[in-house]
């Protein structure tokens, strides 16, 4: 299943930088990555709407470049998660610290470029590359949990080098609103529970699980307030994406506390009348914030989004049955049913929800962000465009990757789009 180590080494040496030693290249790439993260953080710090309270989140988002910091900051064994379908509460209840493995780094991609198809999803490229680093959060993780959402995730086990942390695959049923889909996903959750129990060396305690669920519900509550702020233009789209991104790494309790502080002190209405847009499409993760920054630069406000790295992250868990089964069922449904990932087959509500939000907040246009190589979103975009336009809204599809070269081009298109919205 995995590549042989020797093969990887030889491929490595056959690459363009074969003359330099491996360590040296790594050092160079590491520096580039650090530079990339620092540059993005700095550009955020320089913004007018930067507040001291936000510094915490930039710190958290910079953690991937210093895994030792992660170990210091958070306790417990780490679990790396791909996508957003694995139930965080379950890990928390069994004493694991879950980290969503997601990356927006361009520089790091070079590490895995030789082993991946030319047109690969940039996010996957960056994530896999992290496994080739000596030190990364990916390597820190005791387990890596991969739900089989898109094809990239499904093929992930073959792309990850041998030495990586043990993978745990969750088979995601792509039909949600059927009994068999729901039961199969619940089976997966139970299987995961058994696996984690074995790893943790203890049984799941339902009271502990209730406490964890409550923790995350508090997070959901504050996240709801954050979204409200954003809809009212009290906080801009980029910052809310940053805050949401940080949730994927941070401990939920301190994240909740910090966001609460931000929301307490933030909240001076900007008083501008920029046209609002809806950001849809492929995930956006620090330091790849190009798209949201450019939309704002072009004079538009991202009032809402449906990114899996932002607004789609959280959903409520309401349960009435405090039995272990009741809790796990609630969790399984929370991570399955409301998720509107395009890899699902019965996803017709997603468009309705988007249209509903746009109508409710008087958003006239939608920016459909597409990462090159992100097939599910790409396929879907055509139908999306048709329906959105039929409903009298404006639609702009922007296809891009992590590179910085197309910034001017995109900005020009966004400015033109703004004109249509006014």
């Amino acid at each position: 299943m995995f590549h042989k180590k020797e093969k990887i080494e030889s491929m490595w040496l056959n690459s363009a930088e074969r003359n330099n030693s491996k360590a040296k290249i790594e050092q160079k790439i590491k520096k580039e990555i650090q530079e990339e993260y620092r540059r993005q953080a700095d550009s955020l710090r320089k913004r007018d709407d930067f507040r001291e309270e936000l510094e915490y989140f930039l710190e958290i988002l910079s953690l991937p470049i210093s895994p030792r910091e992660v170990k210091k900051r958070f306790s417990g064994p780490f679990v790396g998660l791909y996508c957003i379908q694995a139930p965080l509460e379950l890990f928390d209840a069994l004493g694991f610290h879950p980290i969503r493995l997601c990356s927006g780094s361009l520089a790091i991609q070079r590490l895995s470029a030789p082993f991946l198809p030319a047109l690969s999803c940039p996010l996957i490229k960056s994530c896999i590359s992290a496994f080739y680093l000596d030190e990364s959060i990916e390597k820190l993780c005791d387990i890596v949990v991969v739900p089989t959402t898109c094809d990239w995730n499904t093929k992930l086990p073959e792309m990850i080098p041998e030495k990586a942390s043990p993978l745990y695959i969750m088979e995601l049923p792509h039909i949600k609103e059927s009994e068999r889909g729901q039961i199969r996903w619940l089976e997966e959750i139970y299987e995961l529970k058994r696996f984690l129990q074995q790893r943790a060396g203890r049984k799941l305690n339902r009271r502990q699980l209730q406490i964890s669920v409550n923790k995350y519900m508090k997070g959901w509550q504050v996240f709801g307030r954050l979204i409200e702020f954003r809809r009212k233009r009290l906080i801009c789209g980029t910052w809310s994406i940053v805050l949401a991104n940080a949730f994927m790494i941070d401990d939920v309790e301190s994240w909740t506390e910090r966001v609460n502080i931000v929301l307490k002190n933030y909240g001076n209405p900007k008083g501008n009348s920029n046209p609002g847009v809806f950001l849809a499409g492929s995930p956006v993760f620090f330091p790849y914030l190009k798209i949201s920054e450019l939309i704002e630069e072009a004079g538009m406000d991202i009032l809402a989004d449906e990114l899996c790295t932002s607004e789609r992250l959280m959903a409520s868990v309401v349960y009435d049955e405090p039995s272990e089964y009741g809790l796990l069922k609630a969790l399984s449904e929370r991570y399955h049913l409301p998720c509107s990932c395009p890899t699902y087959i019965d996803n017709d509500r997603r468009l309705k929800n988007i249209l509903n939000t746009m109508r409710a907040y008087n958003i006239k246009g939608i920016v459909y962000h597409l990462l090159k190589g992100c097939h599910p979103y790409d396929i879907e975009s055509f139908y999306f465009e048709k329906v959105i336009k039929e409903n009298g809204f404006h639609f702009l599809k922007i296809e891009s990757d992590y590179s910085r070269e197309d910034r001017q081009n995109i900005l020009a298109r966004l400015e033109a789009f703004r004109e249509t919205l006014c």
């Binding site: 619940l186 089976e187 796990l328």
Partner: protein, 294 residues
């Protein structure tokens, strides 16, 4: 031999004495008048009509015609009293159909009826004075009530010997429920009086009143009645007599009885079935749970 017979006789009399209340006997040839219930009729206007048949003879089988009797009349009271505290009696029209004499009692609302029938029969030296009585409730629900068509009885009421029951009326009279029988003769109770009970399905019984002039009667379980539906009824006719001043007073009271509602309940059997099933279902649920993965 004589001693043996004597002993047997003594034992026999002791037996009779001990079971004194249950002597199966009634002086033969004594006929009486009684009122017999028929099926109640629900009228279109919502009122109820209860046909009562007058019979003379011996209940249940030996019915003679009423032609031998003179002065047959039927009257009833609604348990109302006039200003002097005496009950008000209304006359009821007797419908004669060949041998059959019957009376229709109609009620538009909820009423407690006490119905009497009286008759005379003159013999050589003695006159038989018959009185038949019954008491019942009728729950009529007429929308359009007829005007009061009741006519107050004008003729003399002859109630020297009357059988009273306590309770005087029951909502749902049933077997197994004790009824006190009190024979009243000229406003006084009769102590140590033999009272005969003639039942539709069971052999007749004779019981004695005690010093207070009353006796308790528990209508026994009736298997034939039990086979019928819950709303079906049977009748028991209570008869007693008293002779005084050349007149023999013979009175009857018709007791309507449903089958017992609760006397045939087997509580522990029921609880055992209930608990047993509960355990089985409980184990079934647990067993099913064990088989399922989660």
């Amino acid at each position: 031999m004589k001693i043996r017979i004597l002993i047997i006789l003594i034992v026999f009399f002791l037996f009779i004495f001990i079971r004194g209340v249950d002597i199966y006997a009634f002086s033969p040839g004594d006929d009486y008048l009684w009122l017999e219930f028929e099926q109640c009729i629900r009228e279109k206007n919502g009122s109820l009509t209860l046909p009562l048949r007058l019979n003379y003879g011996r209940f249940p089988g030996a019915k003679k015609g009423l032609r031998e009797l003179d002065d047959v009349s039927v009257f009833y009271s609604l348990a109302e009293t006039d200003d002097e505290g005496k009950p008000v009696f209304y006359a009821a029209r007797i419908q004669k159909d060949k041998q059959n004499y019957s009376v229709n009692i109609n009620s538009s609302e909820q009423n407690h009826f006490i119905v009497f029938a009286q008759a005379k029969k003159k013999r050589n030296k003695i006159t038989d004075q018959y009185l038949a009585k019954t008491s019942f409730l009728l729950f009529g629900h007429a929308f359009f009530k007829k005007k009061n068509t009741r006519t107050i009885l004008s003729r003399e009421v002859n109630r020297q010997l009357e059988i009273r029951t306590v309770p005087d009326v029951q909502c749902w009279p049933q077997t197994g429920n004790s009824v006190k029988i009190i024979p009243v003769f000229k406003k006084g109770r009769l102590a140590q009086k033999a009272i005969s009970l003639f039942d539709e399905n069971l052999p007749s019984v004779e019981i004695m009143t005690d010093e207070k002039g009353e006796c308790a009667y528990i209508p026994p379980e009736d298997k034939r009645l039990n086979q019928k539906g819950e709303r079906e009824f049977k009748q028991t006719v209570i008869v007693t007599e008293e002779t005084q001043g050349g007149i023999r007073y013979i009175s009857s009271y018709t007791l309507l009885l449903h089958r017992s509602r609760f006397k045939n309940h087997r509580f522990f059997m029921g609880v055992a079935i209930f608990l047993g099933t509960m355990v089985v279902v409980f184990l079934f649920v647990i067993a099913r749970r064990k088989r399922i993965k989660f």
